[in-house]
């Protein structure tokens, strides 16, 4: 079992759907949602939340700083 579990919270109304977080995630947690936000952008969301390790890679590359990252030691 993974040592860390992570979770991210995306400010969906301010996400621009650029996908940079999606490709930065090493464990393929993220994807763009089929739905769009108020500006018409497909926003990022945790498609596979169980795989998140809280590494913050997604948040580091996000140009709009809309990702908040949490990480918990589960050992």
């Amino acid at each position: 079992m993974a040592k860390f579990r992570g979770a991210v919270v995306v400010d969906t109304e301010h996400c621009k759907g650029c996908s940079l977080c999606v490709v930065a995630c090493p464990t393929k947690v993220l994807d763009l949602h089929p739905n769009v936000n108020g500006k018409g952008y497909h926003y990022a969301y945790m498609k596979n939340p169980e795989a998140c390790i809280g590494c913050a890679s997604c948040g580091l590359v996000c140009p709009d700083s809309v990702i908040t990252v949490y990480k918990k030691n589960v050992e």
């Binding site: 579990r5 590494c55 700083s65 908040t68 990252v69 990480k71």
Partner: protein, 253 residues
């Protein structure tokens, strides 16, 4: 384990810097400007110099940078940010003064200003966003545009005979005795973002050493001007830009 067990204040590892305002950045989705703004805000926050930092924003897509980072700012005419920063830092030597400039602003219309500010060894930080194009005005050729690169003014690709060569202005500036730290970074991967942040932090800290200009180039993308998706633009940048504009420190004294 439920997500609500993880999403708790005590487990927080990354959140938006307090120095970034609530204004939504006007940049296109995936634009490098947003990433670099964030890093500058984080560095100023971590160094606790919010009240002592004055930025000078350029003309170009980042003309409204002052709307996004909560510090004092001045807005310069196109290319003249190093001249304005010179005046500010000479009048307020205790402040941290930086310019934020695109490649059209810095290497084209403002070529003389940056050369002479660097040659005079002004005690400022320069953040240079090289996306090899004039983003704001519709994707025209910049001095940094690569040979063969298609822009709205080089529809058949940049041709050296007609348009001259891509300008490695950062290497030129490193030759001047007035620069103390000159580096080229990128912001496309988590590792690159961390390195760029370290470079920016070092540049701001250099202000106290008073050794001259600290110059941080960030090779970036303009996915709109390049007419690519943000993800493809990063790929294209790695495949083409890094060959002409290799990453790493050029000077550090």
């Amino acid at each position: 384990m439920e997500l609500t067990d993880i999403i708790k204040e005590e487990n927080l590892v990354l959140k938006k810097s307090k120095l970034l305002t609530d204004n939504v950045m006007h940049y296109c989705p995936g634009c490098t400007h947003g990433v670099v703004h964030k890093l500058i805000a984080e560095v100023i926050e971590e160094l606790n110099i919010q009240d002592q930092t004055i930025g000078v924003s350029p003309v170009g897509c980042s003309v409204f940078a002052y709307n996004y980072i909560d510090i004092d700012w001045a807005e310069a005419a196109h290319g003249r940010a190093p001249a304005v920063a010179t005046a500010i830092s000479r009048l307020h030597p205790e402040k941290y003064v930086f310019t934020y400039q695109g490649d059209g602003d810095l290497a084209s219309i403002g070529c003389a200003e940056i050369m002479h500010a660097c040659n005079r060894g002004e005690n400022i930080v320069v953040v240079f966003i090289n996306n090899a194009i004039y983003g704001m005005t519709g994707g025209q050729m910049a001095p940094t545009t690569l040979l063969g690169q298609v822009t709205s003014t080089t529809p058949y690709g940049r041709d050296a005979k007609l348009n001259g060569f891509p300008m490695k202005i950062t290497e030129l500036l490193a030759q001047l005795d007035g620069t103390c730290y000159v580096t080229r970074q990128s912001a496309d991967t988590p590792a690159a973002v961390r390195k760029t942040k370290n470079a920016l932090k070092k540049a701001f800290q250099n202000t106290r050493r008073q050794k001259g200009v600290s110059f941080v180039e960030v090779v970036g993308t303009c996915n709109s001007g390049w007419k690519m998706s943000p993800v493809d633009a990063n790929k294209w940048m790695r495949e083409h830009m890094f060959e002409k504009y290799p990453l790493g420190d050029i000077k550090d004294i």
